[in-house]
């Protein structure tokens, strides 16, 4: 070591008035010279040092964002919403899987010439999203559900963020599949609105009971109704083209209204 940091350079470095090259040179020297390090270190303002260390630890502790959280953050999503979505990966994948299965069934059923098979598909298809809704928002999908039911953030907000996280990719998947299921005309997508109505209905009913029980009850009603009404295949297809859609739209509106009106009830954990 042939030189030491002179007093003038040290003062300018501490005051952050030394040029970048000079600063780099001083820092390189400080790494290997204990005497200068002690002298310069003692002169550094403790508040500045504290701020620098906070910045370092903050950078080290910055959560390692997954691709989804990272993307959502870049799209302007808040920390809270992005983290809520990424924390429930299990729920999102179960939802997408169920919708994927429904769409695969839609493609095969719409290309089938058997009317009975197609009618059965229209009844069965909404059960996938309904089951996925129960799975996505039931207690099993979020291990921290009990803990999160006691935080000040609204449970309804968490529920809606998770709903959006599940439904938006499902809608995208459905849109992509449309060219393959269009052979049946718009009847091939006649299961979508009932799916939405059943899923939202289960969410609304979960303000009274568990979402699993709500989904089971709605599923039984949905499957049982055509049997109780003794609808034949042509009647069933006709019903799907009109009354079922109108009723589903009405059910969606009622479910949304109930969810909003009973929003505080979502804040109790289930017994």
């Amino acid at each position: 070591m042939s030189w030491h940091v002179d007093v003038a350079s040290a003062d300018r470095y501490v005051a952050r008035r030394l040029d970048p090259n000079g600063s780099a040179s001083v820092e390189a020297h400080l790494v290997s010279c204990a005497a200068c390090r002690e002298r310069v270190g003692a002169a550094v303002d403790s508040d500045v040092l504290e701020a620098v260390w906070r910045g370092v630890t903050d950078a080290v502790d910055q959560p390692a964002l997954g691709w989804l959280e990272h993307t959502l953050s870049r799209l302007g999503c808040s920390d809270a919403n992005a983290r809520m979505v990424s924390a429930t990966t299990r729920a999102r994948w179960s939802y997408l899987l169920a919708v994927g299965v429904s769409i695969a069934l839609a493609i095969s059923a719409s290309q089938s010439s058997y009317e009975r098979l197609f009618a059965m598909f229209l009844i069965a298809a909404p059960l996938g999203p309904l089951a996925a809704t129960a799975g996505a928002f039931g207690r099993w999908s979020d291990p921290a559900a009990e803990l999160l039911s006691t935080v000040p953030t609204s449970s309804l907000r968490i529920l809606l963020v998770r709903t959006a996280a599940a439904v938006v990719p499902a809608l995208a998947l459905t849109a992509i599949s449309l060219p393959w299921i269009a052979d049946r005309g718009w009847l091939a997508v006649a299961w979508l609105l009932p799916s939405l109505a059943l899923a939202l209905g289960a969410v609304a009913l979960s303000s009274w009971t568990s979402i699993e029980r709500a989904a089971l009850g709605l599923g039984v009603v949905w499957v049982g109704a055509p049997m109780v009404l003794r609808l034949r295949v042509p009647e069933l297809l006709e019903t799907f083209s009109g009354p079922v859609q109108i009723a589903s739209l009405g059910a969606v509106a009622v479910a949304v209204a109930v969810t909003v009106l009973r929003r505080t009830e979502f804040e109790w954990s289930e017994g």
Binding site: A64, R83, E146, S149
Partner: protein, 286 residues
């Protein structure tokens, strides 16, 4: 001074099964331990105090608020720390990420201040060095401490801890006691446990629940005193004892009604609790 928690005639039913029956309690600063057999109602009571569960009847006031009022419930939740029986941690998150997530949901909005707070609570539970490690790689005791760390966010005046020492080794248990007792100086800590040693070492007050009702409510010393003159040791087990077991020294330690010439020893909280349980079983206590 107003109590931090007070209940009047608090009851909770699951369908037709009563889980809690007319509980009257007032809790202030200090540590209150709830003891009782499985199914006694400890977890149900703690979940109500943590605002996770709605009471079926009676009144509850927590931190001056009624938790059945939605706005008041949020106020309580802002000043509450809760460790549930089932920890429910995200295995893929690091300890820092998980506590940070809970901090976000607890309305710690400013990122830098929030990260400082997360570091503070993790340091407090001695997890500062492993904060970047995935939770799945942490030991059971460390996971318990992660759960405790999130409960300490914001330095809440009420801590509700459901079976907090399950799975901790003796050393971790002592560290837990140190940590909780430090926090209890100005705050109300409510915990449920099966470990009578924890109650003896930690609690100012012990409440014994049985079949959804309070059957004892006093200090741990008073619970131990229930067994004064009713704990003895002998070379052979006495059929008249409520409970007896062979100790490591090869003698039998017994709790119950001693014979006249019994070698009496000092009772513990466990002895008092066992005697109370025996009395309940025979319908002679409470």
């Amino acid at each position: 001074m107003d109590p931090i928690v007070s209940t009047r005639g608090l009851a909770k039913d699951y369908g037709r099964s009563p889980a809690l029956r007319s509980i009257d309690l007032e809790l202030g600063p200090g540590i209150t331990g709830f003891l009782g057999p499985n199914g006694a109602g400890k977890t149900t009571l703690l979940r109500i105090l943590a605002t996770a569960l709605e009471p079926s009847a009676g009144s509850v006031r927590i931190l001056g608020h009624d938790p059945t009022d939605p706005r008041a419930r949020i106020e309580i939740r802002r000043r509450l720390g809760y460790v549930p029986q089932e920890l429910g941690l995200y295995a893929t998150f690091s300890a820092f990420d998980f506590v940070d997530y809970v901090a976000i949901l607890k309305e710690h909005v400013d990122r830098r201040a929030r990260h400082d707070e997360v570091r503070r609570v993790l340091d407090e539970v001695d997890l500062g060095d492993v904060r970047s490690k995935a939770i799945r790689k942490l030991s059971g005791g460390m996971r318990r401490r992660v759960a405790l760390a999130q409960a300490l966010l914001g330095d809440p005046p009420l801590l509700v801890l459901d079976e907090p020492t399950v799975g901790l080794d003796p050393e971790q248990r002592v560290r837990f006691r140190q940590l909780v007792s430090r926090h209890a100086e100005r705050r109300c800590v409510v915990l449920s446990t099966h470990v009578t040693e924890d109650v003896e070492a930690l609690c100012d007050r012990v409440v014994v629940l049985h079949d959804g009702a309070v059957v004892f409510d006093a200090t741990p010393a008073e619970l131990a005193a229930l067994a004064a003159g009713r704990v003895w040791v002998a070379d052979l087990a006495d059929d008249g004892a409520h409970v007896s077991w062979r100790t490591g020294e090869g003698r039998y330690r017994m709790v119950g009604e001693p014979p006249p010439d019994a070698d009496l020893i000092a009772p513990t909280v466990q002895d008092g609790y066992l005697l109370l349980g025996g009395g309940i079983a025979e319908g002679s206590a409470a």
